[in-house]
Structures are given as structure tokens and as C-alpha cells.
Symmetry: C2
Subunit: 362 residues, 2 copies
């Protein structure tokens, strides 16, 4: 593997936005999609970064996504709104819902927003981070198409059903948890497949139901937790309840499968967004001092014998990547680069030149 | 092991309540504690059931718990209240907070309540179940004293930091998730120690940091997730943020250790309670039909090859135990029984006679 070329984040974001515009979606959709994909690429979550552009474009060209959605926000209770996304691309739906949730939280202390009729949202962390950057604790829970078995179950039943939460930390990048409730997310499996890397043990079974670390043979993902997989499956179920019964949208098992991406019908996905305003609960000084003490203590705690590094808080690895990529650019693997240059040609949009340094192995 | 004698739940609850009253706490404290402990015993969660009576009594006699607390509820934002529990026993604090959260949710759609100055709450499931039985989705998150290492960490840093959520299901017992964010809860380790049973692999390390399944050697618990233990640690962190920075109370690492229970100072625990009113989000008929379809599909799905049983929803095992124990009584293991009969003598409170059938091996 040779060093991947690196590209300036802002230029990549402009490129991605132009490609989405060229695909025919309106400007808010293109901006939201580019912003969300570049979140993944900026923080080192390459499985959920710019790599996903081809998938999202396919949902547009195949008619799953409405190119010119009219999103409506209905306040249904003092602290609850429902976003009808009119089959918008998921990124626009989710930023819209988070904006509404934080608006409610500023007013009421807490805001809960459900989303109806959207498509896949990419990295859920993008939306909660945006909330935390503006001083709110943000939470996003979204069910997706069934790829993960139940504990003791044979068939795919839940989606990887991500849960993302972010909390503001004064003078620092936020605390950021963005996790699939499966052992690993599907996009990591697809990404590892494209890179030819093995999966962690316990992440997946093959078509015969046997455990496998071969990304190509992986068929059904396993819930988080191994022997305690009933907990991962339970968390997936929590996200299912918030995303489907509470919104009226489809269960994971009823959503069409993403990898095929053959559907021309709207995706009919639901989602749940929550925002808390810390200063509605407690004097902000007190919140700030305790969360700072918490993270200081965590980061100075001792590593286990044989650990690969020091204990980190959720998000710390992301901020390391972000700091590097702000300075040195975003590395793009060969498979993603070839897809991007193909799109550049297809839409006659100039692809940015790489920055001078080529140092990260992907 | 011989069959454990069984006791009628209502009689046990009355006995427990009388013991708490005899220890000098006021009636609301005694009622709440008995109700919560009997929740655990009714649903088969024996590690968090009546077994805990001695621990909670020790917190009273040692002065950690205020025998006559004056709880105050302050509405700090339209959808947020703060319960100052005045060092009440945790069960009373948590039922009080859940009552307030559901009251807010009925009015605002969602209610968030933080708890200040309480002690341990036992099984978090008790409080969320009570919310779900009255038609609300309830959530409880509480940090506890440090027993669980960080992912890659050497020392105990987080508590077992439980997360419990329950959702109403029409015509059925609720969906009920009650989980420690460690691989297993500490009370299971203590219970297995008293029964002489081995622990699941990956649940704990010994004093030397080596993995162990010996309940007596277990020293530091491991976060949920094994190789993905950063997710369990991340969830523990989420609960920490909701319980300490958002409430002003202590971090897990700052709380005194429960097993020693030597402290005479107030416990200074915080907690977070959330309630959602489904009918504030969506027509109740629609919620009911989707959650019913979800659970029907889940329960009729196929077991994995080699699975010990059919896939179950969170709570299903509890309802099996509950159905059995309503009819046949609650089995009490020898170690717990000896503690209870000791208390009966100490306080001159008659201990109930066992019911006729003695069938369950504990």
C-alpha cells in the first residue's frame, strides 16, 4: 500500500457539493450532504466520509430521494416537533431536525424531534457534533435496513441502528460518541472489503451462520456485546422504538437493503433527535467545571497492561485525525479516489489537486 | 443445591417495608425501597432484588441516608425539573423524579428531570417500568461508584452506570431494557459470589489485571463490548455526563465504594430521568400497531444454530419469571434467607411462611 494522496477539506467539500448539485438536488440538499460527508472525512471516520458519495448519488438517480423536497416542521407539543422531510436526502432532514431540537431546547430546556420520510443520514455524529458546538447535548438515533441478527437470532433483524451523542466541553472539542449498536458498522465492513482488510473477531457471520473475519464473506452482522449481545440487541431495539413506532415509519426489517440500492421508491426512514440545554439544568460554570474534571481525570488515567495506548474519551481519536487533516489534508484511498475522479469527469467538475504532503497509509 | 423455598410477593414486600420502617426511615422511604426491591425479585432479577435489603439498611444505620428527607422539586425550565432528594434513599428519589418526568411529559411531550443528593437506586428498571405501565417511554441513567475500567484502562474509573428504558406495549407487559454498561453488573458478581457460581468470560479482571471467571477473584469489571469495549465505556461516559456535570453531583471515581459501605457521609449521587409521551408524538393507534408488529416479528424470528433458545425482546425473560412467581411465589436463596431471618429476629417482625411449592433451583 502506498501513501494516499491528501486533499484540502474545504476544496473537497466544494467538489462534493458541486457533484450533488449536478445530480439535480437543490442547494440545501447538496450543502447538507457535502457537509455531513466531509464531517466523516475530517474526523478520520473514512468509512462514513466522502467514500459514501457514490451510494448517495445512486439514491438520487434511482428516485429514492426527492431532488426538491419541501420540508415541513410541525410543533406537535411544547417540546416536541415532527419534521416531515418529504423524502429529502437524510443529511438535510437530520440537520433540520437538530436545528429544531436545539431551538426547542433553548426555549424549553429539552427538545425532542422525530423525522418522517427521509433517507440514510451517513455518520450520525455529524449532527450531534453540530449541536455540541453550539452548546447543547445532542442525541441522534436512527434505524436502518436489517443487517444485524438478534442475540440468539439467525436472520438479520435490526439495522446497525446508530446512536450518537455529543456534549459541549468548554475550550475543547466536544465529547463525541458515535456508535453502531452492532459490533461494527456496515460501512466499516464495506470499507474493509474495498481495502482488503480483515474484520475484528465477533463482528459478523457468513452465509452459513459461522463466525468470520473475512470482510467479503461477512453476511449477517452481530449485535454489540459478544456473550452480552442481548445488550447490543436491546440498544438496537431502543433505537428501533424511537425511529419507527414513535414516527410511523418503517421497521428495520421493512426497509429495503442499502447495498443493492435498487429501489426507486422513497426510503420511508424515520429518526429521533433530542437536544438538552445544559444551562437549563444547572449553572453553566458548574457543568463546565465537572465535565472538564471528568475528561482531565479520564485522559490522565493509567493504561492497562498490554493496552495499545492510553485511555481515550469518545471523540479523542477523531480530534487527533481532525488536527492532522486540517494541517495536512484528507487522505483518500485508491478505490474512493477512482470513484471521485470518475464523477469529476462525468459531471465535468474539476477535481482538486492533492496537497504537497503524502504521508498517511490508508 | 436444594430447591429454594418460595414466598408470596405481597407478603415479602410488607415484610421488607416493615424492616425499613423499623430501621427508622419514614414511610415514603420504606414504601419506595420495598417496592423497588420487590420489583427485582418479582421479575427474576434476584441480584437486584430482596437480596439488597442488608446493603440498603447499612446505608441507613451508617448515616449515608437521611431517615426523614424533605424532597423538593424545582421546575427550572418548562420541560425540566430538578429533584433535590435531601439524601433520601435512592428508591424514593428515583420514583419521585420519574413521577415528575411523566407529569412534565404529559404536559410538554417530553420531561427531563435530574436528581441531586440521593443514594443507590437498586434496579433502574423498576422506575422505567412504572412509567411504561402508565403509558410513557421512561429512561433512567445513573452513575455509581467506580468499579469498571475504561477501554485500555488499568483502574476502575466508571461505575457500572446502568441505563434502563421501558416502552408501553398495548395489551402486553412493556418492552423493558435494564442494563449495566459494564459487561455484567456488580450485583451479579456479588450474587454469584454468594452462590459460588463462575462469571461469564470477559466480565472482570483480577487484582493483577488478568481476566478471571472466579467471582471471588474479580477485582475490576470490564466495559460492555469486549474488543468493542470503547462502546461500553462510551455509554458509561454518556451516563456519567447526564448524572454528574448535568446535576452538580459526584463523578463515579469520586463516590465512595459500595462494597465497603463504611461511609457515614451522604452519598452525593446524581441521576437523570427522561419521559416521553408517545401520544404527543404520533397518533397512539399508530404507535401501538407498529410496536406490536415489531415485537410479533421479533418473537417469531428464527433462532441461530446452537442458540440456547428463541430470540427474546428485552423484558421477555422478566415476564416469564414474573408469571411464574405470581403463581408460585418468589424463591429465596439460602444466603439471602439467612439475612432476612436475622433481620426478622433483630426487629421482631414475623417473617412470612413459605408457600407450599418448592420447585426452583437457584
Amino acid at each position: 500500500m502506498s501513501a494516499s494522496p491528501r486533499y484540502e477539506a474545504g476544496k473537497l467539500q466544494t467538489f462534493v457539493e458541486q457533484v450533488f448539485l449536478a445530480s439535480g438536488v437543490n442547494r440545501p440538499s447538496a450543502e447538507a450532504a457535502a457537509r455531513s460527508l466531509l464531517h466523516g472525512s475530517r474526523v478520520g471516520l473514512d468509512s462514513h466520509g466522502i467514500r459514501l458519495i457514490s451510494y448517495h448519488l445512486s439514491t438520487i438517480t434511482k428516485g429514492e430521494v426527492n431532488r426538491n423536497p419541501v420540508l415541513t416542521i410541525q410543533k406537535v407539543s411544547p417540546s416536541v416537533s415532527v419534521v416531515d422531510a418529504d423524502d429529502a436526502i437524510g443529511h438535510l432532514a437530520c440537520y433540520t431536525a437538530m436545528e429544531e431540537a436545539t431551538r426547542l431546547a433553548a426555549e424549553q430546556g429539552v427538545g425532542a424531534v422525530t423525522i418522517k420520510k427521509m433517507s440514510n443520514i451517513g455518520a450520525a455524529g455529524a449532527y450531534v457534533l453540530w449541536a455540541a458546538e453550539r452548546g447543547f447535548i445532542g442525541l441522534v438515533a436512527v434505524n436502518v435496513d436489517a443487517l444485524v441478527s438478534l442475540f440468539d437470532g439467525k436472520d438479520a433483524f435490526h439495522g446497525t441502528n446508530p446512536l450518537a451523542v455529543s456534549a459541549p466541553v468548554p475550550g475543547q472539542r466536544p465529547w463525541l460518541l458515535d456508535m453502531a449498536t452492532s459490533a461494527v458498522p456496515i460501512n466499516k465492513i464495506l470499507f474493509y472489503r474495498s481495502l482488503g482488510l480483515p474484520l475484528p473477531a465477533g463482528a459478523a457471520v457468513d452465509a452459513m451462520g459461522q463466525p468470520t473475519t473475512d470482510a467479503n464473506a461477512a453476511c449477517t452482522l452481530q449485535p454489540l456485546g459478544g456473550e452480552q449481545g442481548y445488550k447490543g440487541a436491546g440498544l438496537a431495539g431502543l433505537i428501533e422504538i424511537l425511529s419507527a413506532p414513535l414516527t410511523g415509519m418503517s421497521l428495520s426489517a421493512e426497509l429495503h437493503q442499502v447495498p443493492e440500492a435498487t429501489a426507486s421508491a422513497p426510503r420511508n426512514m424515520g429518526g429521533f433527535v433530542l437536544a438538552l440545554n445544559p444551562s437549563s439544568f444547572i449553572e453553566l460554570d458548574k457543568y463546565n467545571s465537572i465535565i472538564t474534571r471528568y475528561l482531565d481525570t479520564l485522559r490522565s488515567s493509567r493504561p492497562a497492561a498490554g493496552a495499545s495506548g492510553k485511555p481515550m474519551a469518545p471523540g479523542d481519536r477523531e480530534w487527533e485525525h481532525e488536527a492532522d487533516r486540517i494541517v495536512n489534508g484528507i487522505p483518500i484511498d485508491a478505490s474512493t479516489l477512482s470513484a471521485l475522479t470518475f464523477l469529476a469527469e462525468q459531471y465535468s467538475i474539476p477535481f482538486p489537486d492533492p496537497v504537497g504532503r503524502k504521508q498517511e497509509l490508508v
